[in-house]
Amino acid sequence: MTDLLNDPFVQSSLLPLILGAVAVGVLRLVGGARTGRLLAPAGIALAFLGLFILVVGLPAFPPPSSMGKLFWSAAGGLVLGLAADALGLKGRPVSVAVAVWLVLALGWIAGPALDSLAAAVPLLVLLAVGAWVAFGGSAPDGHSPGSSSAAAPAAVLLALALAVGVTALIGSSASLAQLGLALTAATGGFLLWNWPTERHVWGASGRVALGLPLLLAAILALYTQVQAATLLLALPALAAEPLRRRLPIPDTGFGPALGTVAVTVLAVLPALVAIAAAWALSGGEASPY
């Protein structure tokens, strides 16, 4: 059993998938019929933190390193999301709270690396994506035919985490790779609950989860030798939901299920392009040794 838990492949796939699905289910149950739908996406961040402890260990507090800051930022975000959703906060206050959390977390992680203008560029890009997470497209969009108000941002999260995870793997940062892939799998666990019928709402907890790949990308870009610029190619994933709306998805019983599949494919495609670019730049060699 211990061997299984220590297996990097299990830690990056099956375990976070199960943990994510269980945590989402438990939060849905504990939160009740109304609040539980909002709290459920917090299961993604909860699974991520569990895997972090398993893969990297529980970091000291206050953390001396960026990895420790990542963990405690994620934990802080989880608490923020749960509190906001439990209190039933909506609209602008939630957006502002998530934005402040992201700015503080990214600034905390990036701070020691900001020794030049060039180093500030990745941070600015991440802050711009963070603004989208807090204020833009990750907010619930209503219930148009085939709409997937929780599944669409979850699909974007899955795609971004996948891009960060595999790019880290190509660039010899195993723990970041494992954490990125674990986040992908935990999001997969959430999506399983929301297919074919959507059961949850993407509130503050969901938006916090969507901020996690940005924190991972910050470490990847600022503290490793990885060519993280290729991750820019994954950003069209943010447009997956607007693109899905243009698809002629029938307004029938299968519409929402088909819509979720479509938005996931549309989000994952740019992530695969980013991964292919990272692979090509590495000379077609991952880091097995």
Binding site: N6, V55, V56, G57, P59, A60, P64, S65, S66, M67, G68, P112, A113, G171, S172, S173, A174, S175, L176, I219, L222, Y223, T224, Q225, E285, S287, Y289
Partner: protein
């Protein structure tokens, strides 16, 4: 009369006693400094690595080694295990996090003599922003004028084991061992 005699004895003792040697400043010679480490890989075998860039200063008191002090700074980006991809991984946040923590330092706090030419070196190791006390077994090999450089030189060897998780380097434990053996060989030249 008794007091006068005592004073005379004391004066004679002080004048006749050999002068106490003060600690002398030495610089660790980078071309004769080897900082190596041994780590167990999945239980199959031990891997040997080294740091190629390091510098240090020694304040050496030959007659009272416990008064000596040593400080060493190691460039973590210079880690070398004879495999480029693995070295890249070792420099990543999984291990030495070299972009965030480019230096690893050791500062001695106490030296205990355990034999004619051996001792225990106590000191603080700072790695990944965490400072912890460690101990190294030291063998003082030789001092004198080097036949090669014609400079006053002192040489010593040090061995010890640390737990990397104590410094927050937990990735891969236990598959990649927590215990890291340290091997240090150094020559220091009088400044």
């Amino acid at each position: 009369m008794k007091k006068l005699l005592s004073a005379a004895v004391l004066a004679a003792t002080l004048v006749g006693a050999p002068a106490f040697a003060a600690p002398v400043a030495y610089k660790v010679d980078p071309s004769h400094l080897s900082v190596g480490f041994i780590v167990n890989h999945l239980g199959f075998a031990n891997l040997i690595g080294r740091f190629n860039t390091a510098a240090g200063e020694l304040s050496f008191d030959k007659d009272a080694v416990e008064k000596s002090t040593l400080s060493v700074t190691i460039d973590t980006t210079s880690v070398d295990t004879n495999h480029a991809k693995r070295d890249e991984h070792l420099r990543s946040p999984d291990f030495f996090n070299a972009k965030e923590f480019p230096k690893m330092t050791f500062k001695s706090t106490k030296i205990e003599k355990t034999g004619a030419n051996t001792g225990t070196l106590h000191g603080d190791l700072t790695l990944l922003g965490v400072t912890k006390p460690i101990t190294l077994a030291v063998t003082f090999n030789k001092d004198g004028v080097s036949a090669a450089s014609k400079l006053e030189t002192a040489g010593f060897s040090a061995r010890g084991t640390i737990k990397r998780s104590d410094f927050g380097m937990k990735y891969g434990v236990p598959n990649i061992s927590d215990d890291i053996q340290l091997l240090i060989e150094a020559e220091a030249v009088k400044s």
